[in-house]
Each structure stands twice: as C-alpha cells, then as structure tokens.
Amino acid sequence: SQQGEEDPQALSIQEGENATMNCSYKTSINNLQWYRQNSGRGLVHLILIRSNEREKHSGRLRVTLDTSKKSSSLLITASRAADTASYFCAKGQTGANNLFFGTGTRLTVIP
C-alpha cells in the first residue's frame, strides 16, 4: 500500500500522560502531515514536516521523521480529554499531486 500506516490502531491513556502515535510508509516522500478527526467528520491539519527535517514542534505536539526507517511519530504531551480523536498521518509522496492517508489511530484520553 502507498498509504501511511499508523500504529497503534487504538490508544487509551489517562489525562496528563503523553501519547505517541507512529506512522510508516513505503515510498519516497517530500513531506508528511498529521491530521486530527473528531466524530468521523472533517479533518484538521495539525503539523507538516518536510523530508529534510527531523523534528518539529507545535505547542504540545512534537513530530519526528526518520526517512531512513520511513517512519514518523506524533507525540502529544500532557494530554487532555479534549485530545480524544482519531489521528491520521498523510504522506506527500514524491511525484504525486494528492496526499495519501493512513488508517488512523483512535486516541482516548480518560479524564
């Protein structure tokens, strides 16, 4: 599959803990993006990391990219109940004109 694949498929943590989600891919990318989806509707863009970057931060979010392992991780620190959602990685594949989305990680943060 050309899609990014996330793991775990589901993650349940206590409020205040950190949540880590991983994404793997198979082909060359020029960027990788993470999105959040609430209630199975529209996705919200969270963060983009380019293929020449290794780490990026945005608020409580930290994204890493290892192009040698073809993998990325999204870390949410000090999680809140409001972070409960599905998180998708989307790959900007070299030569393609659209993003390829993975299957998502369903995160549940327990208050």
Binding site: Y35, G40, G42, L43, F88, N98, F100, T103
Partner: protein, 115 residues
C-alpha cells in the same frame, strides 16, 4: 468563504438512485480534492482538481462516479445508480495549490447512506 462547505451533510438514498454531492472550497484555493471514508477506515483518495481540470481520474471506484468543477470554485461529485457499498462519508478538501506546504482544509463531509 471562511471554510470548505459541503452539502448536504447527510443523504439517505435508495439503491439505484443518483446522488450529487457538493463542495464549495475556500475562495482562492486552486486545488480541490475528494476523498471517501468508510466506517472506521482511513481516507480513500478519489480525485483532485487543479483549477477546473482533473488530470487523473483513476481513483474513482467505478464509472458510476464522476466529478466536475466549474469556475475554479464549486465541485460536484455525482454517483449514478448508487449501491450499498457506496455508503460512506465523502470528504472534500481544498488547498492554495497542488503540493502546497500548508496542508489541506477539509469540509465536514457528506454522510451518504444507500438503503
């Protein structure tokens, strides 16, 4: 507009009927994308537009699916002779340009149920 608008938000149709799904992207966004998401699944890419042109239609699941975009703005996804396997949430997104580094802005989707 301020965001990507999709209509209707929900559509229930009988098997065999045709449906039209509408997407109104952010003003000035030249790129527009359609995805489909089945229950609990990831996003399946259907088609993208650069302006009014759709260079690659290979993502459309069958010849019952078609899409157009007029005036570089509103897009319509049409499904003819709907089947139960067409039931899904259809998501539209737009971006300033193809290969943008700013990510996509998604609409809230149309939940299609074929009975």
């Amino acid at each position: 507009g301020a965001g990507v608008s999709q209509s209707p938000s929900n559509k229930v149709t009988e098997k065999g009927k045709d449906v039209e799904l509408r997407c109104d992207p952010i003003s000035g966004h030249t790129a527009l994308y359609w995805y489909r998401q089945s229950l609990g699944q990831g996003l399946e890419f259907l088609i993208y537009f650069q302006g009014n042109s759709a260079p690659d239609k290979s993502g459309l699941p069958s010849d019952r699916f078609s899409a157009e975009r007029t005036g570089g703005s509103v897009s319509t996804l049409t499904i003819q002779r709907t089947q139960q396997e067409d039931s899904a949430v259809y998501l539209c997104a737009s971006s300033l340009a193809i290969l943008t580094s700013e990510g996509y802005t998604f609409g809230s989707g149309t939940r299609l149920t074929v009975v």
